[in-house]
Amino acid sequence: MTPLLDVRHLVKEYPAAGRGWFRRSAPARVVDDVSFSIASGETFGLVGESGSGKTTTARCVLRLIEPTAGEVRFQETDVLSLPARELRRARRHFQMVFQDPSGSLNPRRRAGEIVGEPLAIHRVGTREARRARVRELFDTVGLTGDDLTKYPHEFSGGQRQRIGLARALALEPALVVCDEPVSALDVSVQAQIVNLLTDLQQRLGLTYLFIAHDLRLVRQICDRVAVMYRGRLVEVAPAERLFTAPVHPYTRALLSAIPRMQPGDRLERIPFDAASVARTELREVSDRHFAAV
């Protein structure tokens, strides 16, 4: 079966800082030869610490920024070679949900207008049909008809994330990239949004690229997980496998730092020495389990 999304040798470089004598010799490689593929209906987790390049990877995949090199195939379409007009048309199939729901919602627009905007831009149906679709989307994400005419500031953080989700789902995308979708929310609200994401996936057959730093959450909801370190993937495996039998030293260090939820039962921390690890390609260490060792 061909994957829904196939990313090969993705590279994103930023030009070296400084000028003349002070110019750093090499450009900064934020994403360094990253390859992975996601099957339809799968939830693929991308984890790593800040600055590891996970958000840049996602943005390159959606071509919100232009990668330096590599290949991105979405349902057989070569995303990176699409001319602007066709890229816009293709974008309806892959959408993004952001971390800070308030930062991604226009404060001067009513919730109904925000959710209906993608439909208007892509000129989907008549005005009446669009209005009906927006009401349906509100219902889908657990908002009410009364919420249609409210402004973003009138909602709680969790409700704002529901608006962001409704907007992302408006054009019936196949792939939704979730970049830290619940990390700005309170614990009790986080669970509601996570459940909503899970329900929507089952109902609508969505595929998720799920970026998060909360490793416990990733373990809970992802089918497969890729660990990113300094722009490179160091390990990719089915979620349970990764969390119970990590192979790469960085993954092991990262997992050992997760707080246990059992007071007094503290796992021995595993330190990680970057210098001790050779830079190698991913290889299959066991079934569907890849590591750069």
């Binding site: 610490e49 800040s50 709680s156 969790g158 309170d186 614990v187 009790s188 609200v189 986080q190 669970a191 509601q192 996570v194 459940n195 899970t198 730093h213 909360d214 490793l215 416990r216 959450l217 373990r219 809970q220 909801i221 260090a253 990262l254 050992s256 730092a257 997760i258 707080p259 246990r260 939820m261 059992q262 007071p263 007094g264 503290r266 921390r269 990680f272």
Partner: protein, 335 residues
Amino acid sequence: MKSPSDPVRLRVERLRTVFPEGPGHDVPVVDDVSFDVGAGETLALVGESGSGKTLTALSIVRLVPAPGRVVAGRVTLDGRDLTALDEAGMRAVRGRRIGFVFQEPMAALDPLYTIGFQLAETIAVHGLARGAAAGRRAVEMLEAVRLPDPARQAREYPHQLSGGQRQRAMIALALCAEPSLVIADEPTSALDVTVQAEILDLLGDLRRRLQLSLLLITHDLGVVAEAADRVAVMYAGRIVEEAPVARLFAAPAHPYTRGLLASLPGTRPGRRLDAMPGSVPAPGRAGPGCAFAPRCAEAFDPCRVRPPTEFDVETDHRARCFLHDPERRVAGTAS
């Protein structure tokens, strides 16, 4: 761990802080809050945003931003009544007897001065040492928080350090006047998980070595499990449950605490989480009864009529919930 013989270092009694909302109408943000922190003990104050945990800390040191104000309660530190102090007296306590660590170290560090200068200045201001001696002490403090090459780091400016190093520098700043209590407000929330682990280990280590008391404010139950001796859970301005950390995780008594623990990922198999319905009420928006009642699956008649008082669940474990009202429990067994 706390034992009954441990002296109480910080005692907070019936603290109440309000913000005005229109003329003659005050909204409580910290309501009837009482707790003790023993010598060498870490008490975690846990809650979601708007629960009043940070305002409780600010009320203790009388730094509540205007127009908010502390209207009732008593705070004693090492037996000394802080509420009776005037502003000058309070200023002598802040930084000297009580150190602070914040989520964002750049808020506490001055970008224009080197780390070493800021430490030495603080040491001199509190009259602990001056001149070269203060400088030497500054380097010792950086060593104590395990910054690599402390003599060199002392000459660096805050922006030259990484996030984790800055957090270490701020801990050094909080400790340099040898306070008996440190208030740490989300000290690791902005850090990556591996750096968080290092900072938590450091705080635990310093606490043991210096017999420091720590009031740890956090929303992260993982941090609580790792670092706290006792936990006070806040909801809508009140402490709803307090217990030793192992007890709280093993046998939470308040439905809110139970809901919080159940909603965490990794606590049950399958993809769905056990989510609590609704969200935290805005200050002043809770009804006459228990603020949690609208979200509570176990709420019964009295919960909607009046706020519950605290009931003992066990020794050293109390909950503000009618489920633990002994009269109800007696009635329950009788029927």
